[in-house]
């Protein structure tokens, strides 16, 4: 599905260069569930953002579904991830002024899907996550677990091929965290490719594959 070859990313502080990612090679096949682990500052989130095309890299090649991402323009890249990638964040990042329903609907609006079709798609999703009763509530009226559920529903609404999750359970208690991880596992069984960043050995174990990152370099594969 995607392939990173010799990816470097750095920042210059003064005349000193700090590497965030150093010679990262990674290939992910469709249907995999990968957990990226590593201590704080090891470059986990940076790697995830590079994969999600939210962040640039300085050197290397990145092919996503046979498209050379490193050669694409900003607009084409954004069209690519808009269609194929869904994001889940540690802090949920829901829009506070929109209801659960409207938050989930937003990606569809940007994909220019007709209003009547949007209704049907969002209704299916609410049904699937069993949050129909909460559709008119605002994010602040929900618990953390529920908010993350909405976040995942929003990530899935546009039917992506790849789900990226940056410490999805980081702000949740263990019970809520477990529920979310079970949901991920189930999604993976249904065929969704998932890459998650996590601190927790336990959560990493849900994945089919663990990548350990240290100082921007992959330690094992």
């Amino acid at each position: 599905m995607l392939e990173l070859k010799g990816i470097y990313k750095w920042v210059n502080t003064g005349n000193h260069r700090t590497f965030l990612l150093k010679d990262v090679d990674l290939s992910v096949k469709a249907g995999e569930f990968i957990s990226i682990m590593g201590p704080s500052g090891s470059g986990k989130s940076t790697l995830l953002n590079v994969i999600g095309m939210l962040d640039e890299f300085n050197e290397g090649e990145y092919n996503f579904l046979n498209e050379p991402v490193h050669k694409l323009k900003e607009k084409q890249r954004s069209a690519l991830y808009k269609q194929y990638i869904g994001f889940v964040f540690q802090a949920y990042h829901l829009i506070d002024e929109l209801t659960v329903y409207e938050n989930i609907e937003t990606p569809l609006i940007y994909q220019n899907i007709k209003s009547s079709d949007r209704k049907a798609i969002v209704a299916d999703m609410l049904d699937r996550f069993q949050i129909v009763g909460k559709k008119d509530l605002f994010p602040t009226q929900l618990s953390g677990g529920q908010q993350q559920l909405v976040g995942i529903a929003r990530a899935l609404i546009a039917n992506p091929k790849l789900l990226l999750a940056d410490e999805p359970t980081g702000n949740l208690n263990s019970k809520q965290g477990e529920e979310i991880m079970n949901l991920f596992k189930q999604l993976n069984h249904e065929g969704m490719t998932i890459i998650q960043v996590t601190h927790s050995e336990k959560n990493a174990a849900y994945g089919s594959h663990i990548i350990n990152l240290l100082d921007g370099m992959i330690q094992n594969n």
């Binding site: 962040d55 991830y81 990042h93 829009i95 002024e97 940007y110 546009a158």
Partner: protein, 794 residues
């Protein structure tokens, strides 16, 4: 997509109620102030511009030098000018004279004192005052025809058709109504409720053919294609040529002023019409623009401050697939929508405040919703404001990489605080200028009001002599005195508070050719002038035709006249008009008193004539102070009614009439105060918003400082200090500008205050206090917040 944006806009506004209220109402107040001024300016601009022939109509002006060698221009012309122009100059299509009068009109039982005008038959041909009935061609022919406005026709005849009806004018003549005019629009300088033919004035014996009696306005309609400048050069010496060889040979030149400039450019500067009302119109235009600018600045400041809170939303939207253009569309749309909302509120504010504003400016303004100019102007303004305010979040935030925005990385980019500080400085500069101006205007008015008028205004009333008052004057006077209502009565040429006429061309023993140019204000009295007015007699005695039969040619001079004439011993001096044998002899000198503007430092020379020269139209009465004013007035009315039953006795108190001299400057003062208040208010809103933003963006710093042991007072002063610095900078910029502008303004008054440093200091302190109160609320709130909370959110 659009509905989604609308929803988020309104929810956002609702969620931040205080913020939204400040933002929208600030903009709305700014817009409504600008709209009011715009309406006023439009009215000023359109003054007498609606006449179909506007481009071909000219007002005739005179130009001459005074005794000091200064050249003046004035629009009062000889009555004979009009007929001469029409007779001798082929490019003149039509002419009309215009002379205001007030007559008692009666129809049946109705009796009304109304202001009208004598005009030539060409008046309605030249000017476009639409007739509801009658045709303009023949309407003012003959001596006893008359045209009424609709309002007056209604007042006299109710709903009956007025045409063909008889109106008794001044209870001496009957005039037939030959036409009814639509009521005059609000944007005309002409002031009349009825028109009478010039022939009527001729029949009354008020017409004359003297080239040196400048008393009426003359309007000329030039033929299509005629050149005004050629016409000007031909008529320049018309008065000089017609008086050549006579003893009173004139040096007065004649020129034309286009009607389109007649209202706005009526102030003479070195004999040219250089300014006047246009200065005020421009000044108000500048004020309107500044208030709009300040409101815009606010809106931008507050919107951008708030948009940083919305950075998260921008980030999320980008992550879930928003393109830059859709974010631009969303934010621009949102701020334009808010502008529209503010505009609707502004229209509402204008509608409800228009009544009081009209009273303030003395006009009848209304919003003409069919005026395309208004809509174009408003639409452009809404788009401009909305786009400007929305541009920061729209273009700046949406350009960020989403990850950075979500992580809050952009918060380091505090670059926008500097321009915001600049904007706040601009606002406060303007506010301080207006505060200083308001104080100086108020002090100047007060200065004029406190000036000694030179006579006793209390218990002094005057009435105009109408009908039989002249005939029974002696009886009326005797009865006023014997009944104890009045202490003293004088019959005089004009009211003590109004300058009506002036004369030059006098000679006396030892006078030079230059002295003939000395211009004397004219007053007149039969007897008891000094006593009735409460004047001081410097030397000699008062005019008294009852005890001194030769006093009909006696005159009083004021001290200014004596100074101008540089005579040592004025009593007994004889004076006469150049080329005239009628000799006037000086019997007394009176102390200077104010008859013109109290803001004019030099009191003009004045001659008070005995009854030999002037037709006396006013009775001044010094009421008995022992009696209550109401009882005294009732007594006066009763006596006048007894001898002059046809006319309702209408009296004027001298002090009230004098107070009208302050009306214009008081209007300026009230407007200055109003706009100063609004500007300060809007600026404070902006400052409040900025303080909120600053406190929020420094929340982490405040938290850290508190954890390290900073006190509430310490943090409050830390947060307030920056703003107070801005106000100080504003003050430094504002003070010299205000100084310059106000010395310009004060220049238009010769009797004026000195600008004092404490006014500036006071304005500075006031604005500091206002700013401090506004800012400290936010600062204290931020300072007392729990640091644990603020540190956790980061």
């Amino acid at each position: 997509m659009f509905r989604n944006y609308l929803k988020i806009t309104f929810r956002g506004l609702w969620k931040n109620k205080v913020f939204s209220a400040i933002n929208i109402s600030g903009l709305a107040i700014g817009m409504s102030s600008a709209l009011l001024i715009f309406l006023w300016m439009q009215n000023e601009w359109s003054m007498d511009r609606f006449h179909k022939n506007e481009k071909r109509i000219y007002l005739m002006y005179n130009r001459d030098k005074d005794s000091r060698g200064e050249t003046w221009a004035w629009p009062n012309t000889p009555k004979i000018l009009a007929s001469t122009l029409k007779k001798d100059y082929p490019e003149v299509e039509d002419v009309t004279r215009f002379n205001n009068i007030t007559f008692l009109l009666s129809a049946g039982e109705k009796k009304l004192n109304k202001r009208g005008a004598f005009v030539d038959s060409g008046f309605l041909n030249i000017f476009s005052f639409p007739l509801l009935e009658g045709s303009p061609k023949n309407i003012l022919k003959g001596s006893y025809s008359m045209v009424l406005t609709e309002k007056l026709a209604k007042a006299l005849f109710g709903n009956e058709d007025a045409v063909g009806k008889i109106v008794r004018v001044d209870s001496v003549n009957n005039c037939t109504v030959t036409g009814v005019l639509k009521d005059l629009p609000g944007n005309t300088q002409f002031d009349f409720e009825y028109l009478l033919p010039w022939d009527y004035m001729h029949k009354l014996g008020w017409d004359d053919e003297n080239w040196d009696n400048n008393s009426v306005k003359t309007y000329v309609l030039l033929k299509q294609g005629a050149s005004a400048s050629e016409f000007d050069s031909k008529i320049k010496d018309i008065t000089i040529n017609h008086t050549k060889g006579s003893p009173a040979a004139s040096t007065t030149e004649v020129f034309t002023q286009p009607l389109s400039r007649a209202y706005l450019y009526a102030k003479s500067g070195n004999g040219k019409l250089v300014g006047g009302q246009i200065v005020t119109v421009r000044l108000f235009g500048i004020i309107a623009a500044f208030i709009l600018l300040i409101a815009c600045i606010n809106f931008m400041n507050l919107s951008t401050a708030r948009s940083e809170k919305r950075a998260k939303e921008v980030g999320i939207r980008k992550v879930v697939g928003a393109q830059k253009y859709s974010l631009v569309f969303q934010f621009l749309g949102e701020s334009i929508l808010i502008s529209v909302l503010a505009f609707v509120i502004a229209l509402f504010i204008v509608q409800i405040s228009l009544g009081s504003f009209n009273q303030l400016v003395g006009k009848q303004l209304s919003i003409d919703y069919t005026n395309p100019l208004l809509w174009t102007f408003s639409l452009l303004f809404i788009l401009f404001t909305g786009a400007l305010a929305g541009s920061y979040p729209a273009f700046y935030l949406s350009a960020f990489r989403p990850v950075k925005v979500l992580k809050g990385a952009f918060k380091k980019a505090n670059a926008l605080i500097t321009p915001r500080k600049a904007l706040v400085t601009v606002q406060f500069t303007f506010a301080i200028i207006l505060i200083i101006s308001t104080i100086i205007v108020a002090r100047q008015i007060n200065y004029g009001a406190e000036r000694q008028s030179g006579y006793n205004q209390n218990n002094l009333v005057y009435l105009f002599t109408q009908g039989d008052v002249d005939k029974h004057y002696q009886a009326i006077k005797n009865e006023l005195l014997s009944s104890g209502v009045a202490l003293s009565v004088t019959h005089s040429a004009n009211p003590i508070t109004q300058r009506w006429g002036d004369s030059w061309g006098f000679q006396w023993k030892g006078s030079t050719k230059a002295d003939e140019k000395i211009d004397f204000l004219r007053m007149g009295s039969d007897a008891g002038f000094v006593k009735t007015m409460g004047l001081k007699l410097v030397e000699g005695r008062d005019i008294d035709i009852y005890n001194y039969p030769t006093d009909s040619n006696a005159i009083l001079l004021n001290e200014a006249a004596v100074r101008a004439m540089h005579v040592k011993d004025p009593i007994g001096l004889t004076m006469h008009y150049t080329g005239d044998t009628n000799m006037f002899h000086v019997v007394g000198v009176i102390h200077d008193f104010i008859i013109e503007s109290p803001f004019q430092k030099e009191i003009s020379p004045m001659i008070v004539f005995g009854p030999g020269l002037d037709y006396f139209q006013v009775v001044h009465i010094r009421l008995n102070p022992e009696k209550p004013a109401s009882a005294a007035i009732a007594g006066v009315q009763e006596i006048f009614k007894k001898y002059n039953p046809m006319y309702p006795p209408e009296y004027v108190f001298a002090d009230e009439s004098y107070a009208k001299k302050f009306k214009e400057s008081e209007r300026t003062g009230t407007l200055a105060a109003l706009f100063a208040g609004l500007t300060i208010f809007i600026s404070c809103m902006g400052l409040f918003g900025l303080a909120t933003y600053m406190a929020e963006s420094r929340i982490k710093e405040i938290g850290v400082r508190k954890v390290l042991g900073a006190s509430v007072i310490g943090i409050t002063s830390l947060l307030s200090r920056d703003f107070l610095k801005l106000v100080l900078v504003s003050f430094v910029i504002a003070a010299p500008i205000a100084w310059w502008a106000m010395s310009k303004w004060l220049d238009s008054y010769t009797y004026r205050i000195q600008m004092e440093w404490w006014v500036f200091l006071f304005a500075g302190i006031i604005s500091l206090i206002i700013a401090m109160v506004t800012v400290s609320f936010q600062a204290i709130r931020a300072a007392i917040a729990n640091p644990v909370k603020s540190l956790r959110t980061e």
